[in-house]
């Protein structure tokens, strides 16, 4: 490519780069800075990570919910994406519409809708009681169950889209070839289709897990103060207990754990390939 043309491209992305530097990178460094200077300089805030059982508990809750959410979302997303890749053009358009529909609704509305559905007098509990399947209402919100339900619902499109996009690139004849060579339908799936859809699975897993780690609104509403995840605790530290040092420390650890999980995945797969840079 000619050098002068390349320079034009740099100018085109310059505003975005500038915006990122001023409003993203700079505050990020500030967060890192506060975490080692407030209230006193040093790594005192980080020592809390090791020493305070409350923070241990919050982190464990966060990880448990994230792992559970990611596992359920990716499996369910895989099933939806697989169905989308197999059906005809018309059904596919409708399925895609339904998947994206939840994207267009505000996360707040969705979380409240789940609260309405799952609360003690909600549709699910009254329905089950009417059917005589339960005598006492089940506790479906203000616990980890409710949080996971809401989060899976939110994350599902994030899993479906990369998996589906990967699946459209799989040559359908390969499965036929496997069948023709003697593989049962399940054998053809496990030996051929599943390995070929692995890049989509991995990028969906990363995407959902990273999103889940820092998730705020849904766990805050559906957890109802009973299930506290790390980002809710950060918010509390910032605005209620006004412990900025602790808040920025937690925010930084959140960032590091995202980077750490990416680094862990990168040991096993080529991330550039997964995210389409190669």
């Amino acid at each position: 490519m000619h050098a002068s043309i390349r320079r034009v491209y740099w100018w085109l992305i310059a505003p975005a780069v500038l915006l990122m530097l001023v409003f993203y990178i700079y505050p990020l460094f500030q967060v890192l800075w506060i975490s080692v200077t407030d209230p006193v300089p040093g790594f005192g805030n980080y020592r809390e990570l090791i020493e305070r059982p409350l923070i241990h508990r919050i982190w464990l809750t966060t990880l448990r919910i994230c792992v559970l959410t990611t596992a359920i979302t990716v499996v369910a997303g895989y099933a939806v994406a697989y169905a989308m890749a197999q059906v005809g053009e018309r059904q596919r358009t409708w399925m895609m519409f339904c998947v994206l529909l939840t994207f267009w609704l505000s996360v707040l509305i969705r979380a409240f809708a789940w609260v309405m559905l799952l609360r003690t007098e909600g549709l699910v509990n009254t329905g089950l009681q009417e059917l005589g399947l339960i005598s006492e209402p089940l506790r479906l919100v203000r616990n980890e169950f409710g949080v996971v339900v809401g989060m899976v619902h939110f994350m599902l499109p994030l899993a479906v889209l990369p998996i589906y996009s990967n699946m459209t690139g799989i040559d359908a004849r390969l499965v036929s070839a496997a069948r023709g060579l003697g593989a049962s339908p399940i054998g053809a799936f496990l030996n051929v289709y599943l390995p070929l859809s692995k890049p989509g699975l991995i990028s969906a897993t990363i995407l959902v897990f990273v999103f889940s780690l820092g998730f705020f609104i849904t766990p805050a509403l559906l957890g109802g103060g009973k299930v506290v995840m790390i980002s809710e605790y950060i918010q509390v530290s910032f605005e209620e207990t006004l412990r900025w040092g602790q808040a920025t420390m937690l925010a930084s650890t959140l960032l590091f754990s995202v980077l750490l999980s990416l680094a862990l995945v990168a040991r096993f797969v080529d991330l550039k390939k997964v995210f389409g840079a190669r």
Binding site: D171, R173, L174, S176, A177, A178, R179, G180, L181, G182, A183, S184, P185, G187, A188, N191, V192, P195, L196
Partner: protein
């Protein structure tokens, strides 16, 4: 790795897509150990027939018999047929060796136990040195050979080939035609081959089935099909042909005359396929026309002028305008060409009554 060879029969096979018949009442006997080619243009139903045999397409009617056992409803993985797909369909995430191991793996053979067979199959297609490569690292011809090895390693009852050479360049295609034929000869497995390439069909097959609109148009050994096409379609599809239309004039035992304008030509055989207006259609192959500067001593001869010619190294192709027969195409070996190849020069075209053949105009 020669398994027992099997025969296959199709009985009234049909496949409808809505009201459209992709395959229309096809019956066929494929003898054990033969190399049979299904030849036809796109949409003739040849691939649908192959996919029905493989088990990927469920026939709307009819039966498929393997050695008299009905396999019509058997799923593809239970048929034990080898198949080479168009575009090869190699598994991109497996090495060459693992691709070839695959059919054995799904039959419960461990990698260690399969090693000898995999090696044997690789040697069969002369690719032993590429076992650890991935398909994307191979050339088209090498991928083709891997697909063949994979389809043969489990000693299938039949080998099905769906346009296996269509993605290759001309020279490689010619080389692989030799290889396929010698492979067939060595293994003795029944090969069923689908192509739209008449040259491939002629060069390799024991028998060719020409399909048109889902029906069998004509079948036979390559030589018989080429020399005695039954219809205009076959004469045109298998090789090139000039078509002459004339009114039957005088019939003698074993031959007859037909007139085109005030010209009378002689044709061997009987004036069959006569149309309502008393005319017949005669197919004349370009290479059976004698080109001469003066009137040749053939029974049939017409004068004409060269309107175009192409030089192919080994042959000349001429387009010749004639007063009575319109444009005719004639080919001749270049090194014995008896006429001056220049546009506008006057030449003679001649042929014997047995050089051409009467065909059905359909």
């Amino acid at each position: 790795m020669t398994g027992r060879s099997h025969s296959l029969a199709l009985r009234g096979l049909s496949k409808y897509y809505g009201s459209l018949a992709a395959v229309d009442d096809v019956s066929l006997d494929i003898p054990s150990g033969s190399f049979l080619t299904l030849l036809g243009p796109s949409g003739s139903g040849k691939t649908t027939i192959l996919m029905s045999i493989a088990g990927f397409v469920e026939p709307s009617a009819g039966q498929i018999l393997l050695d008299d056992a009905d396999i019509t409803t058997l799923p593809p993985d239970k048929r034990n047929f080898g198949m080479v797909f168009q575009g090869y369909a190699l598994f991109p995430h497996m090495t060459v060796a693992d691709n070839i191991w695959f059919p054995l793996k799904v039959r419960g053979v461990s990698k260690a136990n399969a090693a000898d067979k995999v090696r044997g199959a690789l040697d069969l297609v002369q690719l032993g040195h590429l076992a650890e490569r991935y398909p994307a690292q191979l050339s088209g011809g090498q991928q083709q050979r891997v697909a063949l090895a994979r389809a043969l390693v489990f000693e299938p009852a039949l080998l099905l080939l769906d346009e296996p050479l269509s993605a290759l360049d001309k020279k490689l295609r010619a080389d692989l035609q030799w290889e396929l034929k010698s492979l067939h000869h060595r293994l003795g497995t029944t090969f069923i081959y689908v192509t739209h390439d008449q040259e491939e069909a002629l060069s390799m097959s024991d028998e060719i089935v020409i399909l048109r609109d889902g029906k069998i148009e004509q079948q036979g050994v390559p030589g018989a099909l080429y020399e005695k096409p039954a219809t205009r379609f076959v004469a045109d599809f298998l090789g090139k042909s000039n078509f002459l239309t004339g009114k039957v004039a005088a019939t003698e035992p074993g031959r007859f005359g037909y007139s085109v304008g005030d010209l009378t030509l002689m044709q061997e055989g009987a004036p069959v396929h006569r149309r309502v207006d008393g005319t017949v259609l005669v197919s004349l192959r370009p290479e059976k026309i004698v080109l001469a500067a003066d009137r040749p001593d053939t029974v049939n001869a017409v004068p004409g002028t060269i309107s175009a010619f192409n030089y192919y190294g080994s042959t000349y192709h001429f387009q010749v305008s004639t007063e009575h027969l319109g444009e005719l195409v004639a080919t001749t070996p270049a090194w014995t060409c008896a006429v001056e190849p220049s546009i506008g020069s006057a030449i003679w075209l001649g042929w014997q009554p047995d050089a051409s053949v009467v065909v059905n105009d359909r």
